[in-house]
């Protein structure tokens, strides 16, 4: 593969990863506060549908993104309110919402199927877009992609370098202790769910208005919610590592296209489906760093020890266990 093709491929990876980054980073924020929003897969589709519809009827892409974000935030708020305030199972509520949102999206979106609609226009960054290599990979995209790139450091900064982030992580670790210090853990969790949900909704619109423009059944965003949920776990609830996972997944999807040309005898479906099991395999490899055997092996090798510890992370301790009050 020559240099020209490599940059095109990497550019496609960066663009394709955008929606997954929105969803996975959003879920990272939510889970860091100790709440699991399992409705991702459904909310993304509903967001995609709502975003496309709003953009179509108003003619404004921005309105589409706003509508999608609102949908994601509302669904997440339902999970938070029932889970944290009403003491219902977050997993059960989230799961039911996944299915409900998906069906709702297909049902309400039926009239929009295959209707041509607006989409986000490309916006090369003046000056930077012409840089050799980097220019094409990073700076000849649309605003959605730029936002997804910026989101990662912003999320990291907010979570690890601000008072708010400290409160979020503290609540996810030990809600009772946060309560003892005068912070209401339920409000923090609700807020994080809404912020996370906003991002999940944006992920939906990023599909239907940018990456896979239009609405249909299937839309193309199906399954992405589950991938995002898995990325959060294996990315150790850390925005940067989660984003690395998202780019990896995008890479697996993108390389299918040139590979298909190279190996014409293999059915095309293989290339479409392969990223999913490959992703699981990669995630499993990362997960191996937690095993005792690897630990012992790395114990005697300084570089391996550092690598293993960089890859490893533990869940927020109170994940899925909100403060119970009598």
């Amino acid at each position: 593969m020559n240099g020209m093709e490599l940059t095109t491929l990497l550019a496609a990876v960066v663009a394709g990863a955008a929606p997954v980054i929105f969803a996975a980073v959003g879920e990272t924020v939510t889970e860091r506060a100790g709440l699991i929003n399992l409705s991702l897969d459904g909310s993304i589709l509903l967001g995609a549908m709502a975003g496309f519809a709003a953009a179509l009827y108003t003619g404004s892409v921005a309105a589409g993104f706003a509508a999608a974000a609102a949908v994601g935030a509302v669904v997440a708020a339902v999970v938070a309110v029932t889970g944290v305030y009403l003491g219902q199972s977050q997993v059960a509520v989230g799961f039911v919402l996944t299915l409900t949102c998906r069906d709702l999206a297909y049902f309400l979106g039926n009239p929009l199927s295959r209707v041509p609609g607006p989409q986000v226009s490309p916006l090369p960054v003046p000056g930077l877009a012409d840089l050799p290599g980097v220019g094409e990979v990073l700076f000849r995209h649309n605003l959605v992609v730029y936002a997804s790139i910026a989101l990662v450091p912003v999320a990291w900064l907010l979570l690890y370098r601000t008072r708010w982030g400290l409160a979020v992580r503290a609540v996810g670790e030990h809600p009772a202790a946060a309560y003892a210090r005068g912070v209401d853990p339920r409000r923090v969790q609700l807020a994080c769910a809404v912020v996370g949900g906003l991002l999940v909704g944006l992920a939906g619109a990023a599909f239907s208005l940018a990456v896979k423009p239009g609405w249909g059944r299937p839309q193309g965003a199906e399954g992405m919610g589950w991938i995002a949920l898995a990325l959060v776990i294996f990315g150790g609830w850390h925005p940067a590592k989660v984003a690395v996972g998202a780019y990896l997944f995008s890479l697996l999807q993108v390389v299918g296209i040139p590979l298909q040309a190279l190996l014409p005898s293999v059915p095309t479906q293989v290339f479409q489906v392969a990223p999913f099991p490959l992703m699981i395999f990669t995630l499993w490899l990362i997960h191996l760093t937690r095993s005792e055997a690897v630990e012992r092996w790395a114990g005697d090798r300084a570089w391996a020890w550092r690598l293993v510890h960089a890859l490893r992370a533990s869940a927020p301790r109170a994940l899925g266990k909100p403060l119970s009050r009598e």
Partner: protein, 483 residues
């Protein structure tokens, strides 16, 4: 600050934990609250700190009746509490724990922390993750945080469980300073010695009521009488001639805890009672887990009756009781009876109320556990959880490994546990136990191993050592063997 509690009641459903408690704590004094397990001490203190709402009664601060909506209100009025189950954030760093929820009025939290730590003589690396601190250091951090919040009343709920004698001295010195600065301190404990050296006045609680009050000088027998009705007697110690070696560690190094375990060689003999001393996390915990076959050594061998100890090899012959009862020992959510079901040699496919029912009732009777076969284990008090763990032990283990077996138990419950352990010892079981309490070790053990920083630095018969020598070894001084 002058605190008055008037006729405080607290109900948890059917449990009436505080039944009309009145007490008064003067400004600038250290006030002790004593009582057996389950007397209602923690509940009362959580009410004062705003963590729990009271069912009825009145709290007066400097004569003014107050009502809180949550801990934030109590904090605003200058009340801070060190909780019995630490309410901190193990995965966050020292500095993050320190600054969370703290108004520093523009001061750099890092500098403030360093400042306060220096003032109290605490050594707390700001960027270390809190789970890597000892229990004592975690308490020190909480105390600094409360002082930084400028508390006028400091409540400490069982601050001396799980800390070493040295750490206790540091803590008590710090508390005296706070009292001298005019702050009030409420010290909750079931340990008489603590209260006797530190407190000006003591209130004793029993079954949710005030059983009595006492002032300096605080006499042991008076306090014991108020706490338990009678003065409990320590159980007789088990005198067994040590038999043949049953468990051997041969050059064992293993990871875990703060320091891991490094190059440990020792043989445990039948019928022996071995006490493991040392600052918490110096290797005792890893030692017990390696000996139990739960942690595989990185180097060296563990031999049980001269055969390598496999994960299953010594099943039923080597038993381990961890200190974290609900975390490692019992399954929260399951009832007492269900724990006995899990212990059956062959669990039947269909389970009903009768399965293991007789076992459970027999166990409850034998160890006088306050509970029924249907009680979920998390609803048992700490002492009763410990008794249940004992009831679940295999009939005749060859080696019984116990991590801090009387942690958090009042004197009477602790004696009850030791009485039960003597039974095993009389039957020839080797007992190996760790304890932060030198007194307990000297009382029960016939051989003492001292750990410092992952290494075993002293191995001595109990009859041929002194508290002084042990304290020096624990601190890593002298004895030549220290690295």
């Amino acid at each position: 600050m002058h605190i008055q509690l008037v006729d405080i009641h607290k109900r948890f459903g059917a449990v009436h934990a505080n039944r009309g408690i009145s007490l008064s704590v003067g400004a600038g004094t250290i006030h002790g609250v004593l009582g057996e397990n389950g007397a209602g001490k923690s509940t009362l203190m959580k009410i004062v700190a705003g963590f729990l709402p009271k069912t009825s009664g009145e709290i007066r601060l400097d004569g003014e009746a107050v009502s809180y909506r949550g801990p934030a209100d109590a904090t605003r009025r200058g009340i801070g509490m060190l909780y019995q189950d630490p309410l901190d954030f193990p995965a966050l760093t020292v500095l993050e724990n320190f600054r969370f929820g703290l108004e520093t009025a523009g001061r750099d939290p890092r500098a403030l922390l360093a400042d306060l730590a220096g003032r109290f003589g605490f050594d707390l690396p700001p960027d270390r993750v809190v789970e890597r601190l000892t229990v004592g250091e975690r308490q020190q951090l909480e105390i600094l945080r409360l002082v930084a919040r400028n508390v006028r009343t400091l409540i400490l709920d069982e601050p001396t469980t799980g800390i070493s004698a040295t750490q206790k001295d540091v803590l008590f010195a710090a508390l005296r300073r706070l009292a001298d600065e005019g702050r009030s301190v409420i010290l909750v404990s079931h340990k008489l010695e603590d209260v006797q050296v530190l407190c000006d006045r003591v209130t004793v609680l029993r079954e949710g009521r005030v059983a009595g009050e006492a002032e300096r000088p605080l006499r042991t027998n008076d306090l014991l009488g108020l706490m338990f009705g009678t003065v409990p007697h320590p159980p007789p110690r088990c005198e067994n001639p040590a038999g043949t070696p049953v468990l051997r560690l041969d050059g064992v190094s293993a990871p875990g805890g703060r320091a891991g375990l490094r190059d440990c060689t020792v043989a445990i003999r039948r019928g022996e009672v071995v006490g493991l001393a040392g600052v918490e996390g110096s290797g005792q915990g890893v030692f017990l887990r390696v000996a139990a076959g739960m942690v595989r050594p990185r180097r060296g061998r563990v031999l049980f009756e001269d055969a390598p100890l496999g994960r299953r090899a010594a099943a039923g012959r080597v038993a381990f009781l961890p200190t974290d009862r609900l975390g490692e020992g019992l399954v929260p959510g399951l009832t007492v009876r269900e724990h006995f079901v899990l212990r059956l040699p062959r669990v039947p496919f269909l389970l009903d109320r009768a399965t293991a029912g007789p076992d459970a009732r027999a166990g409850i009777d034998r160890l006088s556990i306050r509970g029924t076969p249907g009680t979920p284990v998390e609803a048992l008090s700490g002492g009763n959880q410990q008794r249940l763990l004992l009831a679940l032990l295999p009939e005749r283990p060859a080696v019984l490994l116990l991590e801090n077996p009387t942690r958090g138990l009042d004197l009477e419950s602790a004696h009850g546990v030791w009485r039960e352990l003597q039974r095993y010892c009389d039957a020839g079981t080797a007992l190996v136990f760790s304890s932060p309490e030198l007194d307990e070790i000297l009382l029960a053990a016939d051989r003492i191993l001292v750990f410092h920083n992952g290494r075993m630095v002293l191995d001595t018969p109990a009859s041929r050592t002194t508290p002084d020598e042990l304290a020096r070894a624990i601190a890593g001084l002298g004895t030549g063997a220290a690295a």
